[in-house]
């Protein structure tokens, strides 16, 4: 264990992050929207793949529009190669809608981080906290760690539920075309980076407001780029393949570094004490 004032201490970060986790578990106002987002992001895919065909009594292959789009996209999306019939359409739709799951880490991280920071401001517990040997970087790390892990877990739960649901109800052998490097890159690399950016924006915005809802409204702007890409992909204007995901991850990495620099400036002890109201 690192003693007081002897540089960065993970012990202090984890101690505070554990406290934040316990507070979050007792705060339905923060946790419920994050959990609801999991179901909200899963619903569109299952609606299109299973519920609607069941209701209208036709398979996806029989509903001409999706089948034609899937057939057109087959040449451009490697995951669709060699597939036909219902399996082709199901994989195509999974490919399209999986992007929506990126909203889970964004929305969850925002909901949780705003409460983690604004909660301290509202309870006036920041000054006692800063009176300990905790450094401001440790405070920033702790305030990011719990929401990060919590939101990441939720987003992975959403991915597992979506994949498991599609495999269970879809055509036999479908897992081979949906559990791909693209999926792993999307939620193993891009997802956490998008989430981290969302968290950092939330923390920065939270330092300037006393109301979690105001902070969440501002950080909700982060869902815009994902939504635009989702719609563009749905309209056939672009394909979010492995290369696009890597490019997105690189951009997010740069954005995270910029946000880290801004966050460190905002999280100055004196700024917190004198300007955070």
């Amino acid at each position: 264990m690192t003693g007081p004032g002897q540089g960065f201490s993970w012990h202090r970060v984890v101690s505070l992050a554990r406290k934040d986790a316990r507070e979050l578990m007792r705060n339905p106002g923060a946790v419920v929207p994050a959990v609801l987002m999991v179901f909200a992001s899963l619903f569109p895919l299952f609606l299109v793949i299973f519920i609607v065909p069941m209701m209208v009594g036709r398979t996806l292959e029989q509903s001409g529009e999706f089948a034609a789009e899937a057939a057109n996209a087959a040449a451009r999306i490697p995951e669709l190669a060699g597939l036909s019939g219902n399996a082709l359409v199901e994989t195509f739709l999974f490919h399209q809608f999986s992007l929506l799951l990126l909203l889970v880490p964004i929305v969850s991280a925002t909901a949780l981080a705003t409460h983690a920071v604004i909660g301290e401001k509202q309870s006036k517990s920041l000054e006692p906290l800063l009176a300990t040997p905790l450094s401001t970087i440790e405070l920033l790390a702790a305030k990011t760690l719990t929401p990060f892990l919590f939101a990441l877990t939720l987003s992975w739960i959403a991915v597992v539920l979506e994949v498991a649901g599609v495999i269970a109800i879809g055509e036999p052998g479908l897992w081979r075309s949906i559990v791909t490097p693209r999926l792993l890159l999307l939620f193993g690399v891009l997802g956490p980076l998008v989430e981290l950016a969302s968290l950092q924006v939330s923390v920065i915005v939270s330092s300037r407001t006393n109301d979690p809802r105001s902070a969440q409204q501002l950080t909700a702007l982060l869902i815009l780029p994902v939504t635009i890409i989702f719609v563009a992909q749905l309209m056939g204007l672009m394909i979010v393949g492995t290369q696009a995901i890597l490019l997105g991850a690189l951009s997010c990495l740069v954005l995270n570094l910029v946000l880290l620099a801004v966050g460190v400036r905002v999280f100055q002890r004196e700024t917190i004490l004198t300007r955070w109201r």
Binding site: S15, P128, A131, T132
Partner: protein
């Protein structure tokens, strides 16, 4: 134990504290008096190592305060902030346990029990902090300030907003802490409390206006007046050079045939002294 020399702190153009020199010795309580905006909280934060001075020096428990030593200095200080600042969704013991861990206490659970025993709240350790009364929250906050056994305690308005019984309990607690040899600085608006607790009193209004033991403060600022109560309840006040002139005044009144009931030299209260000092400044 705590030494501040020529301490100045400015925020941009605004000077919050100017050229303040004071000290708190082990086993001593110093109370810090001053109007709102006088720089009391800033002084507390400076002495707690929360912020650094613009000019001057601070030594906390033998540690010279600098950017590099501030974290270590904070580990030697127990700070009670104006608001208890508890995590209200958590239990009392989880509140304290987190602070014990942040302070690097070797056995956090034992330290929590010890601190709660000190403020007589051991039996409430599993209660949710948000459900406690204001007085109990303040005692938990004091336990939090004591969790790492600091040699220096800085208490910002410890009885503010408490009912008389709770306030008395907190005052008794503070007096008990002094007897353990801790250096204690108490900021308060309550002049009676200041006088009751203080070994020395510091009066601050951006600059330090006075710093001494209460009796000396009162004596130094004593008014040169005598109040003579006459038969029938009439009172007359006389300005005097010094007490040796009182018999002359009495003799003169007696010569006028006035019957004197009581002669009272002017006794200045701490409130008079404080208002003189601060009023003069304002």
């Amino acid at each position: 134990m705590v030494i501040a020399e020529h301490l100045t702190r400015a925020f941009d153009e605004r000077v919050a504290v100017r050229d303040v020199s004071l000290s708190v010795r082990a086993g001593e309580i110093v109370t810090l008096l001053g109007p709102n905006g006088a720089g009391k909280t800033t002084t507390m934060r400076l002495l707690a190592g929360l912020i650094l001075p613009t000019a001057g020096r601070v030594s906390i428990a033998g540690i010279e305060l600098t950017g590099a030593t501030a974290a270590r200095a904070r580990g030697s200080v127990g700070l009670l902030t104006e608001a208890p600042g508890l995590w209200e969704r958590l239990t009392v013991d989880l509140n304290l346990l987190t602070h014990a861990r942040l302070q690097g206490v070797a056995d956090p659970s034992a330290a929590v029990d010890e601190a709660l025993r000190h403020v007589e709240l051991l039996d409430r350790k599993h209660e949710i902090a948000g459900k406690l009364s204001k007085g109990l929250k303040q005692r938990v906050a004091i336990a939090r300030a004591l969790i790492h056994q600091p040699r220096v305690l800085l208490l910002d308005e410890p009885t503010s907003g408490l009912d008389p019984a709770s306030a008395r309990h907190v005052r008794d607690l503070i007096l008990g802490l002094r007897s353990q040899g801790r250096a204690i600085l108490v900021s308060t608006h309550n002049l009676g409390e200041a006088e009751q607790l203080a070994d020395r009193i510091a009066v601050l209004n951006t600059a330090l206006l006075a710093f001494d033991v209460p009796a000396v403060l009162r004596q130094a600022r004593a008014g040169k007046r005598v109040v003579i109560e006459l038969e029938g309840g009439e009172q007359r006040a006389f300005e005097i050079g010094d007490v040796s002139t009182i018999p002359d005044i009495v003799a003169r009144l007696a010569g006028e045939g006035v019957r004197i009931v009581r002669v009272t030299p002017d006794e200045r209260s701490l409130e008079d002294v404080y208002l003189d000092l601060v009023g003069g400044e304002q």
